[in-house]
Symmetry: C2
Amino acid sequence: MVGYGLYVDQARPFLPANAIIQASGMTKELERAGLALDLALQGQKVAVVSGGDAGVYAMAGAVFELAAARQLNLGQKIGQLSIQVIPGIPALIAGAALLGAPLTHDFCAISLSDRLTPWPVIEKRLDLASQAGLVVALYNPKSHGRDWQLAKAAEILGRNLAPRTPVGIASRCGREGQKTSLTDLGRLALQEVDMQTLVIVGNANTFVYQGYMITPRGYADKYAVKG
Amino acid sequence: MVGYGLYVDQARPFLPANAIIQASGMTKELERAGLALDLALQGQKVAVVSGGDAGVYAMAGAVFELAAARQLNLGQKIGQLSIQVIPGIPALIAGAALLGAPLTHDFCAISLSDRLTPWPVIEKRLDLASQAGLVVALYNPKSHGRDWQLAKAAEILGRNLAPRTPVGIASRCGREGQKTSLTDLGRLALQEVDMQTLVIVGNANTFVYQGYMITPRGYADKYAVKG
């Protein structure tokens, strides 16, 4: 099993006693992917673990990216490996369930990390997504050395959405220290967030009812429901 | 337990023998939500089942929408009920895992059903999402009486994306009859789809490698990986 330390520790109890475990630090995605491919090419059965869902800002992409690059550039027989992605519950789904039903209409996920994506691309996505009326789930709102992105994102979203637009904040979903709170777009820049926090910004129809954040699909309107 | 017949049948084996089961037809979301609230107000413990994740185009939103409308308009004591959403694996995540790693970068979900959303709103979202470079997961690409939406969506996405943009198609994920295939945007309009099909349209960087659909996050570029 190969993975980031935090996730390896969570998976450890489910492994057989003779399993070989290789943990590595954050931002070492390619190192982990390379190790997994090396072991697999040696004939080992390898599991790469991720938090949430492996396909959402996580290790599945890194493994495939590296596999393709190695086959192309080194001629390694990666194509012979069988790679299977096991789906999980991504943070935006776990967080949404804790908050109520904020993703019931069209939505998007945008990462605020500019480590691999130029910031102007992220700004453009925030602007167009809020113009489009998509509910916006913000991944990686802050990290060591990145402390201004959330305030800037709130400003950009605020060009297309009212300050009172509901915002849900969910941290460490399904893990120790799990925490949620509700605020609004006008106060988003002031919230405490970190790399383990997911932020969900509603659309123009999102409302808060009894502490739940809800994006209506429009059933009640369509059928003129009054009770 | 309250739910659409197909999902009720899947959940039935996990229920105790004395459970009361109420199944109803497709498009009867509000009827089911209303029944669930009625039973809960009578003091019953009620589970509403959905396919995939209850919060993504599914029953969680309908229950909350109706609860809020009833409290507001009828003064029912809905606020006393405790409502909990149990997260699941939505079709876009299950489908993505079967296809490879198409959602590794920013993505969105857009439903092509214009039953509750005006079609011009859907068109605008498709246009802006593809301008933004978001991977686009299309829900409800076709249903009885709706047969032209997928071709129109392909045309709109094609204004911002090349015809060779990879497209993954996944049907009945995790259920009997599960099926996936790969095509491209230029041929999307010709594909066989139905209400149980999810369509994932890549972004400008998405590629196909050994039958897997992959949207790179940019690890290999960033670190100039050649092997």
